[in-house]
């Protein structure tokens, strides 16, 4: 077993994990943050996407030990101070989700995408979310959600960004 230290959603966490433990297992089974989902176990569906040091990664393809010393943000950590993140709000506003299973990963990927490219075109959004699968929405309202979120973030006062 290996001891690892993480910052999870702003709070320190110390875990004891097997060398083979995946980050997503540590998040779900040990930290009990079950908003991060496992959809495929083959790095294809993106339901397990979290932010690792601010970058969107699929937590099913990272060993927990590799995340030692890192900052992890999961879907549970996105609504700062109880108010929804603009990406979360946009997904509800635009009906960007149906069954909700892909949604946490989709939202975290969107956060990563908008951090890299604050005003993506439709094609850039579709390409940017290529690694996140959704069976319900046909992606159309997800694209709309990302556009809406991008606009909302652009209109935020500077200090809130």
């Amino acid at each position: 077993m290996n001891r690892i230290r993480l910052s999870v959603n702003g709070a320190p966490a110390e875990l004891s994990v097997e060398p083979r433990t995946l980050l997503v297992q540590a998040i779900r089974d040990q930290l009990n943050l079950t908003g991060t989902h496992v959809g495929c176990d083959t790095v294809t569906c993106g339901a397990c996407t979290v932010l690792l040091n601010g970058e969107a990664v699929k937590s099913c393809c990272i060993l927990a030990v590799q995340a030692d010393g890192c900052e992890v943000t999961t879907i549970e950590g996105l609504a700062a101070g109880g108010s929804l993140h603009p990406v979360q709000s946009a997904f509800q506003e635009c009906h960007g989700l149906q069954c909700g299973f892909c949604t946490p990963g989709m939202i975290m990927s969107t956060c990563g995408l908008l951090a890299r490219n604050p005003q993506p075109s439709e094609a850039e959004i579709r390409d940017g979310l290529e690694g996140n699968l959704c069976r319900c929405t046909g992606y159309q309202n997800i694209v709309k959600s990302v556009q809406t979120a991008a606009n909302a973030i652009a209109q935020q006062p500077v200090e809130a960004k």
Binding site: G35, T44, C45, Q92, L97, T103, R135
Partner: protein
């Protein structure tokens, strides 16, 4: 004052928990002392199990045990169910949760490992040695019918699960007299449903009182409760099924799965909570698949293009066993094979066939996509044969709006529709004539990238199901739906629906309905579903039935609550009942709710006609009905406002519409680019446009995916070729365009809301439109048909083959 909510794009009540990660899906559940199960599956398509050596696995620390059929047989009181003994000669060989002696498909469960940890159970499974004696496998459903083909079930005479034969009296004469007969053989490939949430189950058994609780990612908690009780020989009232948050289904969770019964049997055997969660790989092996069949179709027609007869020979692949509804899926297709066309001569022979592959069952559309696909492809082939435009041949045959109700050639009666109107709307939206000009110019330019346009004018039968349509059910399941309304003392309302949602947004749409019908605030209504211990038995969510069956049960329940509330209001206000009105409600509540919307506002009050100041709010009436002194109620009236309703629809509902799309085909690579997709759907009254459009989008994506991307193939030994999403072409965002959706609604007269259903229309209408467009682009090159999915190699090969023939 509250605006009427029916017809409004109310934002979903479900979303706050889903976008914050606070929803609870089955795999999120942890129980004290819980053990994890891992299923060992057959690597062979057909094999005798010779020996299972568990010793090494069972010696591992943390492993509770390894269990085979023999170990759990005492719990298995009945095989897994096939609910549709629809035909007297259905062969229904026993399908046990663990294979007793013979494995009949790759993925058939052989044994189950239980351990204290998920990964440990999987490690231990690697140490279980199973010795198999491989048997010949039959893979192709047509070859399965050949004399001497290996038999999937040795005890049966052959591989035929059932035969269904139907013919109208005049169909042979129609073919004998026709100017032209067009015939073609179509393939329906095998699809894997892939709801994004993997199936997951948690079973708990309380030995002290004999109660079993199964938490399951199911579409049918109540039916699952019944069948779990039957399969395990438990008293039904001591079995509880909970469907918590369920992450999509598309038919794949409309099943009673081996792993559900295995988890329950283990919980009973070990006295500990058991969790089993599917790996995505197992979706390819052990979740039921959709489609797969061979359909030979003939059209008889006059030179004018008038369709005079349809004949269909359909070999439908059941897989290794009859699944819960597997045999019924082609029958649903049979019902709509005559389509939206006026032809009345029709013959159909369906042969359900066993093969050594995973069982097939309902997948979004269930039979109706298969039927619509061949019908709409044939309309194009007929048009080509006669040198007509595909639009013209449809216009000639669509049932005119003044011909409803219309009894079709399979015997069901379409209630209402404006098929020509939807077609015209779609043609205009896509600029049909303009695109045809562009297409010709492209050909003239000599460009290797050709343009095509394709359409489908579809109809479906939804709202499963009127009792007459389900009489073949072995379990007597009349597919009604339940609604129970609890009116709290404070006038807040809890509604239990048997329609268990898994992404459809029932908690929002049903609350819209209730708020309007009772005159209460949207936020004062909560919709509950998915727990058999809370609310009455219900039939579940599938077949685009939730609104037209489940919603109408709620509607009827609201009517009864309102009638009683009105009586109480009249009593308290000392006027005759007829003097009480709810402002905003049209007198008699005319069925078409858009009329009601136009009438203005609700104020949530029951008041005296002409004296709005003499009124009682619903909350005041609720308080009087429940807690107030007897003076609050008319003499002899039972206290409370609660009601329970079971609603049986009088007919199917018949959503219809036109889907039309344009494609660009690169003749040098075979790649198809979908340029535009216009869907004009008639789902009757639209309760929540935001949610209805979302249903169309998702349906289109799945229908287009069948046309262009998805297929599970097997090799000649019955090995599935590719069992991960790395190999299966599940479309992602860049693969699809933005869709252009419109509603062309004709409210259904068979229910008071006028709704028809929208869950499956996108899947049913879109697939043939895409293939028609691809073939349209290549027709002048001699390409007549392309099997699905129209992948670049297939399209390229079709172009080359046509070139060689010319």
């Amino acid at each position: 004052m509250q605006e009427p909510l029916i017809g409004r794009s109310v934002k979903r009540s479900e979303d706050p928990r889903l976008i914050t990660g606070s929803a609870t899906y089955t795999d999120d559940i942890q129980k004290t002392g819980m053990l994890y199960a891992y299923v060992i599956r057959s690597p062979y398509a057909h094999a005798r199990i010779v020996k299972i050596d568990k010793a090494a696995a069972e010696s591992m620390e943390g492993v509770t045990g390894v269990y085979t059929y023999d170990d759990l047989a005492a719990y298995f009181k009945a095989p897994l169910p096939c609910a549709w003994a629809a035909f007297p000669d259905l062969k229904n060989p026993a399908h046990w949760p663990l294979a007793p002696q013979i494995a009949r498909h790759v993925g058939d469960p052989i044994a189950v490992v239980v351990a204290t940890d998920r990964a440990l159970a999987k490690d231990a499974a690697d140490l279980v040695e199973v010795e198999y004696d491989a048997l010949p496998a039959i893979v192709d459903p047509a070859q399965a019918l050949a004399p001497g083909a290996p038999k999937v079930h040795a005890e049966l005479a052959d591989n035929v699960a059932y035969r269904f034969n139907y013919a109208t009296a005049g169909v042979d004469a129609a073919f004998a007299q026709a100017d032209v007969v067009v015939k073609h053989r179509f393939m329906q490939q095998r699809l894997v449903p892939h709801a994004l949430e993997p199936r997951a189950y948690v079973a708990e058994y309380h030995r002290a009182n004999g109660e079993l609780t199964l938490t399951s990612s199911t579409q049918i908690p109540h039916l699952l409760k019944l069948f779990t009780a039957v399969c395990l020989g438990l008293p039904e009232h001591l079995v509880r099924v909970i469907a918590p948050e369920v992450g999509g289904g598309f038919g794949s969770k409309l099943q009673v799965y081996a792993e559900e019964i295995i988890a329950c049997a283990l919980a009973m055997h070990l006295g500990k909570p058991i969790k089993w969660t599917m790996e995505r790989r197992e979706e390819f092996l052990a979740t039921h698949h959709g489609r797969e069949g061979i359909m030979e179709v003939s059209f008889a027609a006059a030179k004018s293009g008038q369709l005079q007869g349809i004949k269909v020979d359909w070999i439908a692949d059941m897989g290794a066993y009859n699944m819960l509804n597997g045999p019924y899926v082609p029958i649903l297709g049979f019902l709509v094979l005559p389509g939206p066309y006026a032809n009345r001569e029709f013959g159909c022979n369906i042969t359900g066939v066993f093969t050594n592959k995973t069982g097939t069952d309902a997948y979004r559309g269930a039979g109706r996509p298969e039927a619509t696909y061949v019908l709409e492809r044939m309309m194009d082939l007929l048009a080509a044969e006669l040198g007509m435009d595909p639009v013209a041949v449809r216009q000639q045959n669509l049932i005119p709006a003044d011909q409803f109700p219309f009894t079709n050639a399979s015997g069901i009666t379409y209630d209402v529709g404006e098929y020509h109107g939807a077609l015209d709307t779609a043609l205009k939206a896509i600029d049909y004539a303009g695109f045809r000009r562009e297409q010709m110019a492209r050909v003239a330019s000599g460009s290797p990238k050709l343009l095509g346009i394709g359409l489908s004018t579809y109809i479906e039968a939804c709202g499963l199901a009127p009792a007459g349509a389900t009489h073949g059910s072995a379990y007597g399941a009349h597919l009604y739906e339940s609604a129970q309304i609890q009116v709290h003392q404070t006038g807040k309302v809890t509604v239990f629906t048997g329609a268990s949602a898994h992404g459809q947004g029932h908690e929002t749409t049903f609350a819209q309905l209730v708020a309007d019908r009772l005159g209460v605030a949207f936020t004062d209504v909560v919709i509950r579903h998915g727990d058999t211990a809370a609310g009455p038995f219900g039939l579940g969510t599938y077949g685009s039935r939730s609104l037209v069956v489940g919603g109408m049960a709620i509607w009827e329940a609201c009517e009864r609550v309102r009638a009683k509330a009105t009586r109480i209001a009249a009593h308290l206000l000392d006027v005759p009942e007829a003097q009480i009105e709810m402002p905003g409600h049209v007198a008699g509540d005319a069925p078409q709710v858009q009329h009601a919307r136009a009438e203005g506002h609700f104020n949530g009050c029951y008041c005296v006609k002409g004296s709005p100041e003499r009124s009682l709010s619903f909350a005041e009436i609720a308080a009087r009905a429940n807690l107030a002194s007897h003076a609050g109620l008319p003499a002899g009236m039972e206290p409370g406002l609660d009601v329970t309703v079971n609603f049986t629809p009088s007919n199917f509902s018949y959503p219809a519409g036109t889907h039309i799309c344009t494609v660009e085909v690169d003749t040098e690579t075979g790649k198809v680019d979908l340029l535009r997709f216009v869907a004009v759907d008639d789902c009757g009254t639209v309760l929540n446009p935001l949610i209805a459009e979302g249903q169309v989008h998702g349906g289109l994506a799945q229908g287009i995916a069948q046309a262009l991307f998805e297929e599970l193939r097997y090799d000649e030994y019955g090995q599935p070729l590719g069992t991960s999403l790395m190999e299966y072409a599940f479309p992602s965002a860049p693969d699809l365009p933005s869709f252009e959706t419109q509603f062309h609604s004709t409210p259904s007269p068979t229910n008071p809301l006028g709704a028809k259903g929208i869950g499956e229309a996108g899947t049913i209408g879109s697939t043939p439109a895409v293939i028609n467009a691809v073939c349209d682009a290549l027709r002048h090159l001699g390409v007549k048909d392309i099997d699905m999915p129209a992948t670049p190699p297939r399209v390229w090969a079709a172009i080359q083959a046509a070139g060689r023939q010319q």
